[in-house]
C-alpha cells in the first residue's frame, strides 16, 4: 500500500482502462491538451493520443449523445462533465436516451458508458456549480450511480464502472480531490464492485449511512460524538447509490437499531428518503427509534461561505441530529 490522492487514483484508473481495452476512450471539455480542469485526465492525451482522449467544444448535449451512439456499438466512452451540474444541460441525452436505451430497444442494444465529474459544495461555486445530482440520477431506472469517498474506492469503482455494461454515473466530489488515502500501487490491479457498501467505522449505538464527501464529515462527527458524548456510531459508506446495498445497512441496523442517512443532495425526495422508506418497508423490526435523513437544505446553493456552510448537512448538523436521535 502507498498513500495517493483521489485525483491520482482516478487518473490511474483511466490510464489502466485505456491500456486494457482499446474500445475505451475519454471525451469532454478541456480534458486533453489542458489535462482537465481538475487535472484528472492529466498526461493521458500525450500517452494515448487524440483518438483516445477527445477534446470537445462546449456542447454537452452533442457529446453526451455521441457517447451513446459509440456505446451502442460496443465502445466504452468515459464522458467528463466538467461540473456534474451540467447533467442538466445534457439531461435529455442522459435521462431520456442513455438511461432508457436498453429498455426501449427490448435489450437489443446496451449503453456501456460512464459519465463522470465532480459535484458538491464547499468551494463557494454557487448555485450552478455546487449541486449534488446523486438523487436525481438515482430516480431514473437504467443508470447505475456510484459516489466513492476514498482514493482506494475511487480507483476500484471507476475501473468497475468502465467495465460495466450499464451506463454509470460516476460522481466525484470537489472536496475529495486532494484528499489522500491508502491504495495498492499501480502494478497491483484491483476492482471494487458496484453495489456494495462498506462499513468505514464500526460502532454500536447508531448507524450513519452516507457516501461521497459526507462520509468524511460523518467519520469526523462520529469521532467527536464518541469523545464528547460517548455515542458510538457505525458509519456505513454506501459507495453506490443505485443499486442501494440495503443488506449491509440492515446488518448494521440489527446492531444499532437507529438509522440516519446523510448526503449532500436535497433531503426532499432524496436517496436518504429512499433509504429511510425502505427501512420502514423492509426492516421495521430493526428500528428502535424513528429513522431520519439529512440532506442539503431546500435552497439553491449560495456562494457566501457563511451561507453555504449553513445549507450543507455537514459535521455539526450530523452531530446535532445524532444527539437528538440518541435522546429518544
Amino acid at each position: 500500500m502507498r498513500r495517493t490522492t483521489y485525483i491520482q487514483a482516478l487518473n490511474e484508473a483511466l490510464r489502466e482502462e485505456l491500456q486494457r481495452d482499446e474500445d475505451v476512450f475519454l471525451i469532454g471539455e478541456d480534458i486533453g491538451h489542458y489535462g482537465g480542469l481538475f487535472r484528472v485526465t492529466r498526461n493521458l492525451l500525450d500517452e494515448f493520443g487524440e483518438k483516445r482522449v477527445l477534446d470537445t467544444p462546449i456542447s454537452e448535449q452533442a457529446f453526451m449523445g455521441m457517447a451513446l451512439g459509440a456505446a451502442i456499438v460496443g465502445m466504452r466512452p468515459v464522458v467528463e462533465l466538467m461540473y456534474m451540474d451540467f447533467t442538466l444541460v445534457a439531461a435529455d441525452q442522459i435521462f431520456n436516451q442513455i438511461a432508457k436505451y436498453r429498455y426501449m430497444t427490448g435489450g437489443l442494444l446496451k449503453a456501456p458508458l460512464v459519465i463522470r465529474g465532480q459535484q458538491g459544495g464547499g468551494k463557494h461555486y454557487g448555485s450552478q456549480h455546487s449541486q449534488s445530482v446523486d438523487s436525481l440520477y438515482a430516480h431514473f431506472p437504467g443508470i447505475r450511480v456510484v459516489a466513492p469517498a476514498t482514493p482506494y474506492d475511487a480507483k476500484g469503482l471507476l475501473k468497475s464502472a468502465i467495465r460495466d455494461d450499464n451506463p454509470v454515473a460516476f460522481l466525484e466530489h470537489k472536496m475529495l480531490y486532494f484528499t489522500r488515502g491508502e491504495a495498492p500501487p499501480p502494478e497491483e490491479e484491483y476492482l471494487v464492485p458496484i453495489g456494495k457498501a462498506d462499513v468505514k467505522r464500526a460502532g454500536s449505538d447508531l448507524t450513519i449511512a452516507t457516501f461521497s464527501y459526507c462520509l468524511l464529515q460523518a467519520l469526523d462527527a462520529a469521532e467527536s460524538l464518541q469523545q464528547e458524548h460517548g455515542i458510538d456510531c457505525e458509519v456505513v459508506d454506501l459507495r453506490t447509490v443505485e443499486p442501494l446495498d440495503t443488506e449491509t445497512v440492515w446488518e448494521s441496523l440489527a446492531k444499532t437499531g437507529r438509522l440516519l442517512a446523510v448526503h449532500e443532495s436535497y433531503a426532499n425526495c432524496g436517496v436518504g428518503a429512499e433509504l429511510v422508506a425502505r427501512a420502514y418497508e423492509e426492516a421495521p423490526h430493526l428500528l428502535r427509534a424513528p429513522a431520519r435523513r439529512l440532506g442539503m437544505a431546500p435552497v439553491s446553493i449560495p456562494v457566501s461561505r457563511a451561507l453555504e456552510e449553513e445549507a450543507l448537512p455537514w459535521k455539526e448538523e450530523i452531530m446535532a441530529t445524532v444527539l437528538e436521535m440518541s435522546r429518544r
Binding site: S59, A62, G69, A70, V73, R76, R102, G106, L109, R144
Partner: protein, 377 residues
Amino acid sequence: MKQAERALHTQTMPDGLAQPRAEADAQTGGSLLHASITTNALPSESKSAIEVPELDIELLLDMYRKAVLIRLLEKALLAAAEEGQIGGAMHTAIGHEANAIGAAYALRSGDYITCTYRGHHHGIAWGMDPGRSIAEVMGRSDGFAKGKGGSMHFVSPQHGMMGANGIVAAQVPHAAGLALASHLRGESKVAITFFGDGAMFQGVMHETFNMAAKWKLPLIFYCENNRYSEMTPIWRTSSIEDIYLFPRAYGMASMQIDGNDVEVVHAAVSQAAERARSGYGPTFIEGITYRLAGHMAGDLETYRPPEEVEKQQAHEPLTVLRKKLLARGVEEARISEIDEEVDEAIDEAVSFAETSPWPDAAETYLDVFSESTSEES
C-alpha cells in the same frame, strides 16, 4: 443536362400553399426575403447539380416494391389505429418513401442509420420485416423490441437500424457517435441520420453540425423537409427557409434535392457516402418532400387546405416512380403485379401482428439493467 436538372428540386417541385415567400413578399414588399443572407448571396454552386445516373430497371422495380410496401404498411397501420388497435402517437411517412429507399439502396450493409419517430419507412427500406414491424407498433411480443419501443422506437441492429427516437433531433448525435466509433476503429462504415425540418432548430442539431464537421466524421445528415414542423410551416418559425444553408455556417458541404425521386436521393446519398468514406467528412442533404397524411394518426390537418395535398399527389414518390418505370418501357401489368403481391404481403403481415401474443407480464421488468461486464460480453 436533363438528369442534373432534376436535382434542382425547388424548381421542379411546385411550391405548395405553405409557400411562404410569395405570401411574405406580398405583405412586406419583399423585405422578408433576406436576400442578402439567403440564396441570392450564395456562390453559384449552392444548388449545385449532382449527376443523377439512371438506375438499373430491376433495381428500380425493387425500389418500387419497397415503396409500395411502405405505403401500404402505413395505410394498414392507420386503419389499425382507427380500429383502436394502436395506442399512443403514431407518425406515418406516406409521401416520404423515396427519401428512405433512395438512401438505403445507396448505402452498404454494416452502415448505420438513426431516425426520427417518423421512421417506419426507414425500417422497411433497411430491410426490417413488415409483420414484426407492425407487431412492434401494436405492442406485441413479436415486435423487434418485444413491444417496448413501439412506433417511435424502431430498432434492428442487424439491419443497421440503431434507433428511431421520440425526441426531436435526439437521434442526430447518436449517429455522430456511430460515425465516431467507425472513425476511431478505422472502419469504413458510414452513419446516416434522418430528421425533419422541425429538427433544424433544436440546439443539439447545431452542436452536432459543428462537431461532425470539425472532426470530419463519416456522417450524412439527411433532412426530410416535408414543409411542416408538426403542424407549423417553417416560414412561421424561421427567417431562413432554405434549410441546407444552415450547415454551411459550420463548414459542411450541403445540397438541396428532390426527395421524392429515388434516383436523385440515391445519387445524392451515394455521393455523400463516398465523401464520408474518403475522409472528407459529413454532408448535409435537404430532401424536399411532402407529408401526404397527417402529422400523426388523428391529426385534424386544419393547418393546410385539402387542395394543397391534392396538388402534391402529382409529385409524390410512387407516382414519380411509376411514371419513370412506364417511360422506360416497363409494362403496366408488371407494376400492377407488384401492387397486388405487396397488398397480399401486407395482409399477411397484419394478421401475423394481430395474432402475435401480448408480451408476458414478466417482460415488464426485463432489459432495465444488464448484469454483464466487458469481460463477459
